[in-house]
Amino acid sequence: MLNLTQQECRAILFLTALALIGSGANFIIKMNSKTRPMPVLSFDIARINLNDADEEALMKVPGIGEKTAQRILDYRFREGGFGGIEELKKVKGISGYRYERLKDYFTVN
């Protein structure tokens, strides 16, 4: 039917035997695999310093547009800088919910 030579028969038998052994080993490894607990991941995002950032840097933060960036800059100019991240709440338009979303992106030095 396939008209294979003896050499081709042997080659096919060898390759299929390898495939069967590999497949069996793979199955055993998958069935016996376990997950292990890991140490807590520390996520250090590149935070923006509220007392340094210009308008362009502020606008890179998701959720801050041109208007809000300008208000942050106005507040910084008016108050002489931010004393802490919590002061962001005093900027017009940054409510409690919005502050929660934004606070991880900023730092104050």
């Binding site: 294979l4 199955f27 998958k30 376990k34 607990p37 890991m38 991941l41 996520f43 995002i45 998701p62």
Partner: protein, 464 residues
């Protein structure tokens, strides 16, 4: 039989289809496969019995390969994360596919190593697709921590690539680079080279031609302008924008010509071509058509080196087996189907059509070239029109004429593109000249497509 692998490949594919329709337990298929192997080994001196068992074994191996893919290890992300989740997770992993721009965001593939949620902090495995808002500069092999939400992918494409989850990351702020790199060093080198070549294309060409050349040479389709995509899809020439066997053939031709200029002996020309072809395959992202064409080219070259007669049908079947053995779900992927349907129909239909329409050999070379070009185009169209109509709901009778005109032009553009890259790397002052030549040729190709689509009935939209 000159094509024993054809029957084995068909049997393997039937096994995959069988396993996709009927869920059988892995151990049962495995035991049957081992028994078939035993039968084939026992009857190896009896041709008919041996062949029957080998065909059965190929069928069972096909079923086994798909069933194996369904079994996930305990740490796989799909087994750790609940089906419906709105929680924000931290995932640590390695970038395993070069990030690509998608609209306003960036997409890349990540090999997961660890996952952390509110009540979860474990090692994990599996791959996820990551979509991030904004432009993110990451490279292959970089280890990162991502923060975002996970959801199941839509459609079958990602699922067929073994991706069970998609992560949505708001912006680059939610990606933290750990800085360690892990990955196949040679692949890191190739990815670096790809970035450099891509930079050169965009430096010397304008946006639209640069996007097209990037797709034609480096296989980066996301940068092709939307109107070019729809124009070429309607005219049935969109395959030009995908690196395929046609491009691999051109690369072999360029390597062979270059080495011939250096007076390298024929045997060594082929030996040197092999690693260069594999490099090109990795450079273009090792998509299905490139892997198919590369495997076929490697088989042809190896057959020459081993002084054996290459058979094109056997090499197509081996390429299909090679892809399906690693990723059996590709059988249901439209790209895989179109790639193999087009090349198979050219191989099987073209000689028969030629015998039917031109029983006597044509002596005039230009006429023979025109007839051959038309027949190849018709063969490829006949082989793929059914699949295109089924999957995309488009029927393009103009595709035959469009391919006949556009394919030679695409060959010229590809050659000109490689010349541009060579000039930009070796002698930058000459690069703008090649860049203008490329722009003219690309403009001509787009114009021909646009002109052909104005013919009434050129492209018919089928009801969905």
């Amino acid at each position: 039989m000159k094509r024993p692998i054809l029957l084995l490949t068909i049997s393997f594919c039937c096994g995959i289809i069988f396993a996709s329709r009927l869920r059988m337990e892995w151990p049962l298929i495995y035991v049957l496969a081992v028994l078939s192997w035993g039968g084939a080994a026992f009857l190896r001196r009896k041709p008919v019995g041996h062949s029957v068992f080998i065909i059965l074994l190929a069928f069972l191996l096909g079923a086994l390969s798909l069933t194996s893919k369904r079994i996930l290890p305990a740490g796989n992300i799909a087994r750790i994360i609940p089906y419906r989740t709105s929680e924000t997770y931290l995932i640590k992993g390695v970038v395993v596919r070069q990030p690509q721009r998608r609209g306003r965001g960036t997409a890349f593939m990540l090999q997961v190593e660890e996952i952390q949620g509110k009540s979860l902090n474990r090692s994990a495995s599996g791959r996820i697709m990551v979509y991030s808002g904004g432009e993110v500069t990451l490279h292959y092999g970089e280890r990162v921590i991502l923060r975002g939400r996970l959801y199941r992918p839509w459609g079958r494409y990602l699922y067929s690539s073994g991706i069970r989850y998609v992560m949505s990351v708001k912006s680059g702020f939610d990606i933290s680079r750990i800085g360690l790199k892990r990955g196949f060093c040679y692949r890191c080198f190739v990815m670096g080279l790809k970035d450099r070549l891509e930079g050169l294309i965009f430096r010397y060409l304008d946006g639209v031609p640069a996007g097209m050349l990037d797709a034609m040479i480096l296989g980066q389709r996301p940068k092709v302008a939307g109107f070019i995509n729809s124009l070429m899809r309607s005219s049935g020439t969109v395959h030009i924008l995908v690196v395929s066997g046609f491009h691999v053939g051109l690369v072999v031709f360029i390597i062979a010509m270059f080495l011939r200029l250096l007076r390298v002996p024929r045997y060594w020309r082929f030996v040197i071509s092999l690693p260069l072809l594999i490099t090109y395959c990795l450079l273009t992202g090792a998509s299905n058509p490139v892997v198919r064409a590369t495997v076929m080219a490697v088989i042809f070259i190896t057959a020459y080196l081993l002084k054996r007669e290459p058979n094109i049908c056997n090499s197509i079947c081996l390429a299909a087996l090679f892809i399906l053995a690693f990723s059996p779900r590709q059988l249901f992927d439209v790209g895989f189907q179109l790639s193999f349907a087009s090349v198979s129909s050219i191989v099987f239909l073209y000689p028969r059509l030629k015998r039917l329409l031109c029983p006597r050999p044509i002596k005039a070379t230009p006429l023979a070239f025109v007839i051959d070009g038309c027949l190849v185009s018709v063969s490829a169209w006949l082989g793929t029109c059914g699949l295109i109509a089924y999957h995309f709901r488009i029927f393009s009778p103009v595709a035959v004429l469009a391919n006949f005109l556009v394919v030679p032009l695409a060959a010229l553009i590809t050659l000109a593109g490689f010349s541009l890259l060579a000039a930009a790397l070796l002698f930058p002052p000459a690069a703008p000249v090649f860049a203008r030549a490329n722009e003219v040729l690309i403009w001509l190709m787009v114009s021909i497509n646009a002109l052909l689509l104005r013919i009434p009935g050129a492209c018919l939209r089928l009801p969905s």
